[in-house]
Structure formats: C-alpha cells, structure tokens
C-alpha cells in the first residue's frame, strides 16, 4: 500500500498513525517523510494535502464531462490502486527542500514546487492509464481511457509551461517519451545492459528527472543537480527490481537481491552531498525500505 490518502489530507493524524502502526512499513516510512516536510514549514505538508485535493477535483471534472460514467472508475483504477500514488510528489518535495540554497523560501517558491510535483503525478497517472489500455475493451472504454489520459497530459503540459523553465519543460517532456520507449522495448533477458535500459525508461527516468527538476527550480549547483538526479535514478531502479510483477526479465532471485542492494547503495551514496539532515534521513530511509515483495 502506498501513502494513506486520508492522512495526507490531514497531516495532524500522522503522529496518531505511528502509535498504531509498525514504524518500519513502507507506508510508515513515507508518512515519516511527510512529517519531516510538515515540520519544515506548514506549507510543505499543506502542499501534499492540496495536491490530493487538486487530483480529486480533476476527477470531479472528468465525471462532470462524462456524465458520471461508471467506466471512469475502472479506467482510473490502475492509478488509484497503485502503491506509487503521490509517491513522486513526495520525492519532489523532499528534493525541493534538500537542494534548497540557504534562506527562507517564499510562498511563490512553494507553489512552484507544488506545480512541479503535480506535473510529475499527472504524467505518472496518464502513463498508468494509457499503458493499461487493452485491445479487448469496448469502444467506449477505449475512448474514455484515451481521453482521460490525454486530459491529464494536457494539464501537465499547461502546468509545465507555467513554470517557465525551459530546462524543466525539456526534462519532463522527455519523460513522457521515455515511458513510451520503455513500454515498447521488448525484454531480452540475455543482454543485461539492455535490460537496465528498459528499467531506466520504464521506472527510473521519471523520479530521476523529477528530482533533478526540483533542484533546477532551486537554481542549485551542478553538483547538487547531479546528486538529485542520481538518487532519483537509483531509487527508480530499486523500486522496479523490487516490484515482483515488473521484474520478469531478472529471473535469479539472488541476482535480483544483488542488483537491488547495488542500486540502493548508489541511491544512498548520492545523498552525501545534501546538507539538510532531516531531508537526507527521510530519503535514506525511503531507499532502505525498498525490498523484494
């Protein structure tokens, strides 16, 4: 399970959550990270809360336009049921804080972090909806699935343009292409490097480029940019390897564990340049918690 949405909407519930649940579960680690953000300033936790509300209002808009079509829920299910819902926004917000240069951040900056995290979530959602299109679906379902994904991509495009950062636009637009490339790539289990390319395209470039974008918005140093990208890249690779359904090409379980450990270590190593202790700790714990299901 991913981030418990009802708690995201009400960050004050976080501490009571921990009194009931094991502090080492995946959800707990994520919530702890949310807690870190909310201690930073009340803006950060609110950002995730507002983001969930915004996604909900997109859903309402789609319902209005389709006359509350019952197929809508089925179409959005691959996204709503995924355990990575709002995960990338959390990463983006942590990275925004971790890559921040000294000084107070204006509310405007927080809005930009939120916009970026929304772009990331929209691209992620659209991709999940589109790659789950099946040839045996009814014409109506095909039509709706295409349109819903397109709606999200359209919103992402507009949001991106409002950030007015050509570099971020270039990065996040390339992610849209990467996700498709990853899908088209046929897994060839004998060629390991090709395998990794597929993992990168399918699962690593989205978090990597999103983390880098957060750093770019902060006008951080090239050093910091690289660290954010590297962390996101290896975190994405780790998550792909750990998630059993996706890793069909990596058969040997020991090999899989080795690969995962390697990726996790690389992710954690990238964090050394981050000065912010709390954000660094949260990111490290997230990397550590990824394990083979």
């Amino acid at each position: 399970m991913g981030l418990p949405l009802h708690i995201l909407r009400n960050p004050s519930l976080i501490s009571s959550y921990f009194s009931v649940n094991k502090s080492s579960s995946w959800a707990s680690v994520l919530l702890k990270a949310v807690g870190v953000l909310s201690r930073d300033s009340r803006w950060h936790a609110d950002l995730l809360n507002v983001l969930t509300e915004e996604m909900e209002s997109l859903n309402k808009q789609l319902n209005a336009w389709t006359g509350n079509n019952p197929l809508l829920d089925r179409i959005t299910e691959p996204y709503r049921r995924s355990n990575t819902q709002f995960f990338h926004p959390l990463l983006v917000l942590l990275m925004s804080r971790a890559s921040r240069i000294e000084g107070d951040t204006s509310q405007q900056m927080f809005q930009r972090y939120k916009q970026l995290s929304r772009v990331t979530e929209l691209i992620h959602a659209a991709n999940l909806i589109h790659i789950n299109i099946r040839e045996d679906q009814s014409t109506e379902e095909l039509k709706l699935a295409t349109l819903v994904g397109d709606y999200l991509l359209g919103k992402a495009s507009v949001d991106l343009s409002h950030l007015e950062s050509s570099a971020v636009t270039e990065l996040m637009a390339s992610v849209i292409a990467n996700l498709v490339e990853g899908h088209f790539m046929k897994p060839k289990s004998h060629a390991n490097s090709q395998s990794e390319r597929m993992l990168l395209l399918q699962s690593a470039f989205l978090p990597a480029k999103a983390c880098l974008s957060a750093s770019i918005l902060n006008n951080a140093s090239a050093y910091m940019n690289k660290a954010c990208f590297t962390y996101g890249r290896y975190l994405g690779l780790s998550m792909h390897v750990a998630h059993e359904d996706l890793s069909e090409s990596i058969e040997d379980k020991t090999k899989k564990k080795e690969l995962l450990n390697g990726y996790r270590k690389n992710a954690k190593d990238a964090l050394t340049v981050f000065p912010d202790v709390e954000a660094k700790q949260a990111l490290r714990e997230i990397a550590e918690r990824i394990s083979i299901a």
Binding site: H130, I133, R134, A145, T146, G154, E170, A173, N178
Partner: protein, 372 residues
Amino acid sequence: MKCFTMSTWRNPGLVVFSRSMSKTANFTGLIENELQQVSPGIRKLLSSRFEELSKCSRYYTVAQGKQMRPSLVLLMSKATSLCSGIDQSLVGSSFLEDDAPEYISTGQVLPSQLRLAQITEMIHTASLLHDDVIDHASVRRGHPSSNVAFGNRRSVLTGNFILGRASTAMARLRNPRVTELFATVVADLVRGEFLQLKNTVNTNTLEAQAFHFDYYIEKTYLKTASLISKSCQSAAILGQCSPTVIQAASDFGRYVGTAFQLMDDVLDYTSKDETLGKAANADLNLGLATAPVLFAWKQYPELGAMVINRFNCPSDVKKARELVESTDGIQSTVKWAKDYIKKAHEVIQCIPDSPARQALHAVAEKVVARNY
C-alpha cells in the same frame, strides 16, 4: 508574380489580391526548400533505437497528407519577416536612396520557425493517432488507420511519444510564450474531444438549435482552428513582430482553420469513400452533428430528434443525409466558410504585401475551392 512596390506597401488598405492569381499561384515554390525539410526533420526528432516504435511513430509521416499546417506556418513566417526581418529598412527607401532599386526581398524563414512547423505537424499527427482510437477508425488517407495497423494501446502510446518529443523540441526553442501557447493547444484538443462526448441540451427548440451552432463552433475552434491559429501566431512571435501583426497572424490562422473544418464537414456529406481516403458520413455515424445537418435542422424540425439522439437509430444516418441533400445545408455551410475566408483576407492586409502574403491569400482561397 505580382511586383512588390513601395506604394503598395504604403497603402495597406489596397487589396492587391487578385482572384485570377489564386488558380495559377505556385505558392509552394516560395517555401519549397523549407517544406522539404519538414518530414525528414520530424523523422529525426522521432528517432528511436526501438524499431517497433520508429515504425509506429513514422506511420503518418510517410503518407504526408496535405502538409497544410506546416505550409501555413512557413508562409506566415516568410510574410511576416518583411515587417521586422533582416531585409526590412529602418528609415525607408526615400531617405536611403539606394542604388539597388530592383532588390525585392521575398522574406526569410528562421530555423526556429522551421522547427515550429515541424512541431506543429507533430502535434497534429499525435492527435490523429489518438483520434483513430477515439473514433474507432478503420481507414485514414487511404490506408488502414493506426489502431488497425498496430493496435489501440500502441496508437495511444505512440501519440504520447510524439507529444513528448514535440514538447522537448518546443522547450529547446527557449521561448516561454510559444511554449505556453502550444501547451494550451494540447489542452484545447482534449477539451474539444470531451465536448463531442455528449449533447448538453436535449430539447428540440430554436434555442437548442442556436446552442448547437455555438457548441459546434467552439468544438471546431478547439479541435481544428486552435492549432492553426496558435502556430501562425507563434511564427510571428518567433519573428519578433509587433503585437498587431502577431494578432493578425493568430486571427488569420483561426479563420482559415475554421473554414477548413467547415469544408471538411461538407466533404463528409458529399464525397464518396474513395476520394475522401476515409469513410464518408463518418460524422453522422459517430453521432456528431456538423454544420450541414445543423442548417438543415432549421428546415426540418424532425432532424432535431435525430441530433439529440446522436443518430442512434439505424435508419437515421441515411435519412439525415437525404434530408440534408434536399436542403441548402451544404450551400449554407460553404457560404459560411467563404465568409470566414473573406475575414482571413482582410485581416492580413496589415502585413506588407509580398509574394509570401499573396501565397497566404492563395492558400486561404484554396480552402473554399475544394471540390465538393
């Protein structure tokens, strides 16, 4: 070719466009070099190591279609470059008194504007790929549509791939204003599709008729005119033209785009399958009421019920087509399109006259000269 004289330039109110020219104008000669670079350039932007993906993404770039959108962008670029381009005098020839009176500039196309033409065509192609799935198409441009050729999922994903590459190329133009315009085009295209999902007014009244016309025009703007308008506008922005010229370019694109869609809707009624390259009466079969049937509705109230029911009954499509043919629905639509083209001719009068501007007039005129 019409001669470009200073007196012509100083009298922007003078209509220099002549109808006889439209029939013989070889306007593509003006932008031949650039137009030839559009498809190869797009293929480069879509290059990928994965053969399957390359095959899919190039599917609609081999059968080139009319290339109307890139042509408009390139011609607009050339025409507007005479407002503020490298050949445009700052003080005027009466003070310069140059000894090179024969020099007539035909204008330039900037590399960024050529790239813009490529991006415009890519966005259009991506929308076609998605349209094929949304409309459950079977044929396009005389060939199997993409959903038939490689499946629904791959059609949609390929469309996303092209959008991604187009947006990446757009970012590299480093112009936030143009980037924003194109982002709104993507949103417009989606919104246009949603507008077609269902009718929101289900009464058979005069009010409902008017509403349907408004709805139709809005949908036409979102699905067709928006891309053409904003790409022309962007060409002028990249050419660093004045706000007046930028607005004129935008309006020109909007009028031509709207007229183009109106004529397309006419052809859907009047063409046989083979000439069209796609199934005729596709609109009726999709439950869509376009201009010809909306005009005919004014004469035959019973069409209202069919419109509201989205031509659901098996006999509706045939009946509607017959009713439309017995009215002046087609002619009214063509006249409406011609009105838009007239506005298009007027609005670019503020751009200096030139072969490129004449070519824009010719393209506009060609839209309503399509055989129907």
